[in-house]
Each structure stands twice: as C-alpha cells, then as structure tokens.
Symmetry: C2
Subunit: 252 residues, 2 copies
C-alpha cells in the first residue's frame, strides 16, 4: 500500500538522436525494476530536449528590436531573450533579472524554460530549449517504450518552476502520456456528505515533485525516476490539461 | 536508495485537545514503521487545527462592513468572509466565487485556508481555521514526538493550494520542524562547472506533494504519511522560509 520512488541512475549524457526509450528500458532493467501495473516514469525535460537536439548556438542568434529592449530591461543576454520571445506566446513579467513568459505550450515559467546550465557541451555558448511539444514527446516515449516494457509505464515529463509568493522551485509536469494529469473530484462528497470544495487535483505536478525527491534537489545528474504503487484514477490527460487560460486565472 | 511514502491509516477523527503525538506514534507502531533516521512525518493542517480546537461556529460570527462588501462581490457567506479577513493580512483577489488572501502567516491561499468541508462535526455550521501558528505547531509536535519515538521524525504540516496559471491543487507546506524547508544551492556548480541558475529548492513543498500521493487525492480520510529514505540536506528551516514577501514577488 506504500508508494516508492526510485532514481534511475546509469543514464549517461544524452545526445541528439539518442533512443531514449531504449536507454530508459535498459536503465530500468539494470536497476532491477521490471515493470509493474501503475508504474509512472518521470523524465526531466532536459534529457528529452537533448534527445530532440533542441540546442541553439547563441552565436548564431540575432536579437530583434523587442529582444534588445527586454534584454536591457532584464539585464539578460539579448540573444537568450530573442530565443525566449521566439518560444513564447506572451511576456508575463520583465524586470531586472526576471523574464517570465507564457511559453507557447501555455505553461508560465522563467526564460521560457531555456537552460544554459549543464547542457553537457562544456561550450557555454549553447542554449537548450524545451522539447518541441512535451505532451507529444511523452506520447512518443510511451509508444516507443511499449516495444521494450510490458506493461508500459505512464510518462510524465518534468521541469522545475518558480511560483508566485513562495521561495524556491518545485518540479511540475510539462508533458504526460497514459497518465491522468488532472483528476476531477467535483461532485464528490466528503465523510460528512458535504460537497468537496477542493475538487481538482494536479496529480501530474504532485508526481513530478515526488519524483524530484528521488532525482535529487538540483535535478542534475539523475534525469529520471520511477514512481511505483500509485492507484491511477480517472482518464489519461496530457499536461496541457493543467494549463489555465489567462482569461480564467484566479490570481490576477 | 529509494524513497518510500507510507499512508498512516488508523488515525480516527481528531477532537479538540487530542494528543496528536501519542495518536501518531501509535499509528506508526500499528503500521509497522518504527522510526529510522531521515524519516519525515507529513500531517495535514486539518488534524492539527482540529486538535487545536480551531472550530468557529458561523452562527456566532457577525460580519463587519468590509466582510459584507466582499461577500457581495465574491458571493460568499458574509460570516465566512469575516473569518477570512480576521485571519488575513491582505486581500490578494476578490471576484465572484474567488477570495484569495495573504494569510497572516504570509502564505497566499484561497479563503485563508478556512475549511467548511469534512470538519467531522456533521453540523455544517462550523468552520475550521488554519492552526494558530503552523510552524509552532510543527515544533510542538516534533518535541512531543520525541517522548515516543527515537529518532524523532522531521515534521511537515501540509495544505492543498491552488496556483496561478495552472488548474488543480497540489500539497504544499505551511509548517515544518526539524526539516530544511528551503534548500539553497546558490553557488553550486553543475557538471560543466557553470553556476547553477536554479538555486533554491522548496523541499518542504515537494515533500508535502509526495506525501499527498500516499494520503490520496482529496487528502480526506488519511491525514498523515511517512516519507522515508530522504537525505535531508542543509539546516532545518520552518515553512515561513518559503514565504516570499510581496515586495520581492517576481510574478506581479
């Protein structure tokens, strides 16, 4: 009845074109974790992006006028800002040292999730974008893993986000497949027969945070974890189901 | 090397004045979970509030002018709004069906965390406030558990919060003792020797979400879980360390 979180060590540096499904299936076998029903495999966006070859050479980026303006405001590299704008649907906040946007996937995060640390290149002039479509990447990984594992684990692709009003990042889900990212409890009653007021659970975000504990605080080094023992309720929903449209935002 | 999450079943309805430490120690023993180093006990705010007797009879609440105004705007019970205002330092957002405030603890949440569902009374006219001081309650529970358990587990008191821009709630920490709620990685380098850009980890929030998986999606019924196998880094910090002052908020 307990849930267990297993870091998947032994995944080496990932390069563009690598077969993630094969590498992960090997790592699960090496870890002595043959698949069980209800397993959820949580993978950091970084290795998915690397396998997709989402590297951009900053030296090849020419910032436009808006990028130059925001770079001066935020004190960031104008080439990085150009990439952020190209990946984003809207700028949420731009002040010194802070550039928060709504990524074209709908997720709101700093720098459109673009990473300059630990891209595995050692060059320092490369940026790593988010996967092209993290839900599609999760679905593709889910399908490819079916050739190696039975039953095939559900997939969650995680990233670490800051939050308004709270210090520190937590891991959240930006992609999912075969997994109920959002679980709707509306209409359920509690033990006293009252209608529950808190009614939608961001299960994929909670699983991403749980897996983050196993991967280590920096999410560097161990890029995947297996979550075992969950009872997965409801209908599979991609991580896009977690995105609340700006027009419905409760906090703004 | 894996982490395990154990729901603590067998904790019955909690009443004002109950000895939570004794009840939890009994539940851990009954569950066959003698304490181990690194254990973290996650407890929902609801049973801490119940043990503190934080019930308020709504029939005895007289709403003031500001509560009446906000109740009309939010279409909420004016007596509930009066309690929310009394528990809050500032109103963050008030629109139909939504009342988000900064609780006097600093945490930003809906309805100041006041709960009308499943207070265990069946009466329907009672509201349950957050613990008087959740960090102090965690410290008191930590100290009281030391009489029953060696080594004594770290304590995290959890609640479920909504978030801007994302559907669904996740569990976060509003109290902690003996636990590094915020882990500072500033200055650490990644595998390429770059300074890490993501540098503060909200470990207590991640642990709260992980425990929430074991407690069940509604956090009803199973009000505590043991998290086992974490390597707890850094200095113990209360959940107050997670509160970002409004003046420093990056998203507004």
């Amino acid at each position: 009845m307990s849930i267990s979180l297993h870091p998947l060590t032994g995944i080496g540096e990932i390069h563009p074109g690598d077969d993630l499904a094969f590498i992960i299936a090997q790592a699960l076998t090496a870890a002595g974790l043959p698949p069980q029903p209800g397993d959820v495999l949580v993978v950091t966006q970084k290795i998915v992006s690397k396998a997709e070859g989402r590297f951009v050479d900053l030296a090849a980026v020419t910032p436009g006028a808006e990028a130059l303006r925001l770079a001066e405001l935020t004190r960031k590299d104008p080439r990085l800002v150009e990439l952020v704008l190209a990946e984003s649907a809207a700028v949420v906040r731009a002040v010194p040292n802070v550039l928060i946007t709504r990524h074209r996937s709908g997720h709101v995060m700093a720098n459109a999730g673009i990473d300059r640390s630990n891209t595995g290149t050692g060059a320092g002039e490369l940026a790593l974008l988010l996967p092209q479509d993290a839900d599609a990447a999760a679905a593709a990984l889910h399908a490819a893993l079916a050739a190696h594992l039975t039953p095939v684990p559900a997939i969650v692709i995680s990233d670490s986000f800051g939050r308004p009003w709270r210090y520190g990042v937590t891991n959240v889900a930006i992609g999912a497949a075969g997994f109920p990212s959002l679980v709707d409890r509306r209409g359920d009653t509690d033990r006293d027969g009252r209608i529950l007021e808190v009614t939608q659970i961001a299960l994929a975000d909670m699983v991403a945070s749980a897996a983050g504990l196993a991967m280590g605080e920096a999410a560097e080094g161990v890029p995947a974890a297996l979550v075992r023992g969950l009872a997965l309720p409801g209908t599979p929903l991609p991580a896009a189901a977690l995105v609340r449209p700006l027009s419905e935002d409760l906090f703004q």
